[in-house]
């Protein structure tokens, strides 16, 4: 006779299967996705917005939006990256709202690039080096790099999201990539 | 219902097909129908039926306050949204709910042209 394993619990299912069930209306499956990915989404929101009271709200809103749009998601296996993109959009909205409120013109804020190569070279491990390198980029470069290299946005989507020309995005990304790789190659 | 009685007394023609005015209803009638529906074997849940735009407008015009009933009366059509227990076959449960609602409405002299039962959950 064939070995019949016990029924698989929801918590043991892949993201893709959970996303499929959620898209069909299975709230319990969606709840597993919420528990599984909340820490990562919070970590991303914290890095993007700073440690703030807004973290709970922005991540909560992300899941609520994700539920509504799940039906349209084709690449269900990569639901985590897709939710991070939703979160990123909401974080940007909040950053823009902060700026409007403070009436500050949007400038490319100069990052502490002085001493960045040395700091990166002394990082305790590759992850730490990558964090330091990213933090040393000018804001616009950092944002583009994260959206493309980490979150998987397309160039056009970045241009639309940031409301800048495509050529600007390409230029920023080109510089960001070279800066990041150069800095990382100094780490050993 | 007094409304129907009045029209008979004044000799006004009763509408042949769809009533031109919503029949008089009372919160008590809807509450009674709700209670009866919940007793139908196989009914596990009763959900709030969304009113159509028209019934919402009518309610405002007549000065009706939002009802606590989960049922919606749309003209002469009663809308009921249920969840079944997953055991009794759902089509049979829908029919039983329709029958029970129609009967209870009649007991309250509420004339319905239709009872629309919508099954939103099975089991």
């Amino acid at each position: 006779m064939q070995h019949q394993p016990p029924g698989t619990a929801l918590v043991d299912l892949d993201d893709g299967v959970l996303a499929g069930r959620s898209a069909d209306g299975d709230v319990r499956a969606f709840e597993v996705l919420i528990r599984r990915h909340t820490p990562l989404l919070r970590a991303y929101a914290r890095r993007t917005l700073g440690s703030t009271d807004e973290l709970d709200d922005v991540v909560q809103e992300t899941f609520i939006t994700a539920w509504d749009k799940l039906d349209a998601l084709e690449d269900r296996a990569h639901v985590r990256a897709w939710m991070m993109r939703i979160l990123s959009r909401k974080c940007l909205d909040r950053i823009r709202a902060r700026r409007d409120h403070d009436d500050v013109t949007e400038l490319e804020v100069a990052a502490p690039t002085d001493g960045a190569p040395e700091r990166v070279a002394e990082a305790r491990d590759r992850e730490h080096a990558a964090e330091l390198a990213l933090a040393s980029l000018p804001e616009a470069q950092r944002r583009c790099w994260v959206m493309k290299e980490l979150l998987g946005y397309r160039y056009e989507e970045i241009a639309e999201e940031l409301d800048v020309p495509l050529s600007t995005v390409r230029g920023l990304l080109s510089r960001a990539r070279k800066n990041m790789i150069s800095l990382m190659e100094g780490w050993r | 219902m007094s409304d129907t009685d009045d029209t008979r007394e004044t000799g006004t023609q009763l509408p042949a097909a769809v009533p031109s005015e919503p029949p008089t209803w009372s919160a008590a009638a809807l509450a009674a129908i709700e209670a009866v529906v919940l007793e139908v074997p196989g009914v596990a849940d009763l959900f709030r039926a969304r009113p159509t735009v028209q019934s919402a407008v009518t309610a405002i015009r007549v000065g009706v306050t939002p009802t606590v009933s989960r049922l919606v009366l749309d003209g002469a059509v009663l809308r009921i949204v249920i969840g079944t227990d997953g055991f009794a076959p759902a089509p049979a449960v829908a029919r039983a709910v329709h029958d029970a609602a129609l009967d209870e409405a009649a007991r309250h002299r509420l004339v319905l042209s239709r009872v629309d039962v919508r099954i939103a959950r099975i089991g």
Binding site: L13, L40 | G86
Partner: protein
């Protein structure tokens, strides 16, 4: 697809320069795009260039390190709080998943019974889940479901425990779903297609594989393999 460059091999001195003249005519951005395209269609001027291969490896290492840093930071975040989760759930509506209204048979003029597509999907999900070794992922109904007695086709995507019983198990799903639909709906079902799209990996198997041990089936495990409950 050609295997990517090994991220562990690199010559750091080659990467100090990242301009096209250093990368056999390719910009770093072209290389990143090539990577994103799965290195298809294959480009020998990149594949055969040591400088390009080193740069590709550096891009991969960097992406991995950055993601890994984020995942490490995630471990420091508190798990989702119950009342906060409640806040999410309170704001999502099943109504959004109701789908089309599927008519049931009306036997009198005062009847107009319908069933939501969402209700039917959850029915299918439950029937499929009842089969051992199976988890339903997505289900869809093709056809003009809003027309009473219009023939429809139901597709059930499943994740299944890998093993020789796949075909038999899929047949159990088909039978279970067919029965459930016949008992609980008035749909005229032309066919139920079962698509095996994912494999389920049991948690025990994953940890054993990671530790290098192979999983042997205990003879006592194979007794009492009850057939799945085909009825919903």
């Amino acid at each position: 697809m050609t295997a990517g460059p090994d991220p562990r091999e690199s010559d750091p001195s080659v990467l100090a320069a990242l301009e096209p003249e250093d990368l056999d005519g390719h910009s770093i951005d072209e290389l990143a795009d090539y990577l994103d395209a799965g290195m298809q269609p294959a480009d020998p001027s990149i594949d055969d260039s040591p400088a390009c291969q080193n740069a590709l490896a550096a891009i991969i290492r960097l992406r991995n390190a950055s993601l890994s840093a984020l995942e490490t930071a995630a471990q420091l975040e508190a798990p989702a709080d119950e009342s906060w989760i409640g806040g999410v759930l309170a704001n999502i509506s099943i109504e959004a998943r109701a789908g089309r209204d599927v008519p049931l048979r009306a036997e009198s003029e005062t009847e107009r019974p319908v069933m939501t597509e969402g209700a039917i999907r959850s029915l299918v999900r439950r029937a499929g889940d009842a089969v051992p070794g199976i988890v339903v992922s997505r289900c869809s109904i093709e056809g003009d479901v809003t027309v009473f007695a219009a023939p429809v086709r139901v597709t059930v995507e499943v994740a299944i425990i890998a093993g020789p019983a796949i075909h038999a198990t899929a047949e159990l799903v088909r039978a279970g779903v067919t029965t459930a639909l016949a008992e609980q709906t008035d749909l005229v079902v032309e066919a139920v297609d079962v698509l095996v799209r994912d494999l389920l990996v049991e948690p025990a198997a994953v940890s054993e594989a990671a530790s290098g041990r192979t999983r042997t089936v205990d003879p006592t495990d194979t007794t009492d393999s009850t057939a799945g409950e085909a009825d919903a």
